[in-house]
Amino acid sequence: MNTVPAPLLAVENLCVDYHVRVDGQRAWLHAVSDVSFQLAGGQSLGIVGESGSGKSSIARALLRLVPAAAGRVYFEGQDLLQLSGRELRRMRRDLQLIFQDPLASLDPRMSVGDTVGEPLRMFEPALSAAARSARTTAMLEAVGLSVQHLHRLPHEFSGGQAQRIAIARALITRPRLLVCDEPLSSLDVSIKSQIANLLMQLQRELGLSMVFISHDLAAVRFACSHVLVLYLGRVMELAARDPLFSAAGHPYTRALLRAALPRAPRPARARAHVGLSGEIPSALRPPSGCVFRTRCAYAVERCAREQPALRRVADSLVACHRAEELAAEPPLATLAG
């Protein structure tokens, strides 16, 4: 997807497995299989998919919060997965994470000032207390909070304010890459757009690269320059924003777009096409061949036998045996009411 020579982040064949017990039997759950993508400085990549598709596992593996079973994660040319504990901690100031539930991601007994200043305390221990507090205050103001919030505890804040605190904490060390794991989905409608605007504004001002994980396609369209569509831990489609939303190449992407709710009532709603039938299968027993075939309207016998490779079709990378035929079909019917 990138023509930029040296990407900031290059993920190659990332796999994440979890050891689980099913009815007393030990088994491996392959949460992420063979995911590769690149991200250039200042760009943002959206990762979309249903729950259980492995989105959060990718986020956590990038930051080494869960171990990767295989693959490489090059950040500025260095493989993060090979770093020692000490090197990793040094690297962490450049890699930050924002969580879905902002209140859960803040220590309930630590004041806002201490929480936001914590990365400075860890990464710049030489900084004087006065300098640290000045930068904390400046950062709080940058996210729309004020000095008077410094000594409060997280439970005194609403979800939107708590997410602002989490953003301040993530950005105070000026990281290069920000991973956002569903940063908007626990927020109310009116707050959601405030936080989305704030994130985008900070991204532009600081030249951040972003991995933006969401199940909300419209939010991804707003926030991201590129989109990766994930299903059962595998990449279905990887494309720049505009081609993906105007002419999705993969049947799953199309189905997701069709299932999205309309902005206004549409005529003959009862007959409106439901994007997909059935539900995402368990990652413990993924279907053979193409993992999506059990719900795919275009599935043929070959799909059960052979796993499709990710290949270039028109403007996207698509993992579908019938991508060329699909590309010839007319683009999606318009979604608006």
Binding site: G85, L97, A104, S105, L106, P108, P119
Partner: protein, 279 residues
């Protein structure tokens, strides 16, 4: 502790009674040298084993050596409370450190540390103290040590369990992303979040310790005369129970009041800190 927690605590009638009672006893025990005309050691052979009376100035009577029983009991409370608080503090410090490290480190370290706790658990307490007294003689500090050595085990187990569940929380993950690790994580994020459970448990440990001390003193292994603890006073009173029941009843009453008060206070605290009761 938050002001809200305190007000939720004080809204419970039993906890309020317990708090007032404890405060009174503690204050009296602390101020007894200045409040009372009598001292705790000087015998008065004119007034041996006097019964309680309002007339003679010895409100709760005197002991077999003619010393004012109220003053003796207050000095006894002093020692008992001191043992309770000091030994509990000791076990909290050891227990929280041990449990938090085991829980946070996990894996082999956790296994080894918790097996140590299991082994210590299986040591019978009273014979253990008897051996200690035989080896080192009777000493107040030895008693602190002996009791503290036993009580931290419970705290360590509870703290480890809590740490294991705290470790799963997202804010710990968030702190890791911010470069916090090892000792700093335990100090900055784990221990402060254990505060509620530890303070409740410590409040409930104090009466256990006081009872332990009373048991040891009753068995003659605790404080030495002329010093007195509530346990030794009860022991002395028990020997004169037939002729002078007040010598048993008065210290026993104080002992059980203190223990009840701490138990109610601990229960009240648990309720006050329980998020389900926050309305």
């Amino acid at each position: 502790m938050k002001r809200q927690t305190l007000s939720r605590l004080m809204r419970q009638p039993m906890a309020r009674v317990a708090a007032v009672l404890l405060a009174t006893i503690v204050l009296a025990a602390l101020l007894v040298p200045w409040l009372s005309p009598y001292d705790s050691y000087t015998p008065n052979f004119a007034l041996l084993s006097h019964a309680p009376t309002l007339a003679g100035g010895h409100v709760l009577g005197t002991d077999p050596l003619g010393r004012d029983l109220l003053v003796r009991v207050m000095w006894g409370c002093r020692i008992s409370l001191a043992v309770g608080v000091v030994a509990t503090l000791m076990s909290v410090v050891i227990g929280v450190t041990w449990g938090a490290i085991a829980g946070y480190a996990g894996g082999t370290i956790d296994q080894v540390m918790m097996r140590v706790v299991d082994v210590l658990y299986s040591v019978p307490f009273v014979p253990f103290v008897i051996v200690l007294t035989v080896l080192f003689g009777r000493d107040l500090w030895l008693m602190f040590l002996a009791i503290g050595a036993v009580c931290w085990l419970d705290i360590a187990r509870i703290v480890r369990g809590q740490t294991l569940s705290l470790k799963q929380r997202e804010f710990i993950e968030a702190a890791r992303v911010c470069g916090v690790h090892g000792a700093a994580m335990i100090r900055r994020h784990i221990v402060p979040n254990l505060f509620g459970i530890v303070i409740v448990y410590a409040t409930l440990t104090i009466p256990t310790v006081i009872l332990f001390e009373a048991l040891l003193s009753f068995l003659g292994m605790g404080v030495q005369s002329p010093m007195a603890s509530l346990g030794s006073l009860v022991a002395d009173g028990a020997s004169d129970m037939q002729s002078h029941p007040h010598l048993l009843i008065v210290p026993a009453l104080f002992l059980s009041s203190i223990i009840y008060a701490f138990n109610y206070l601990g229960d009240g605290l648990r309720r006050a800190l329980d998020p389900r009761n926050r309305a």
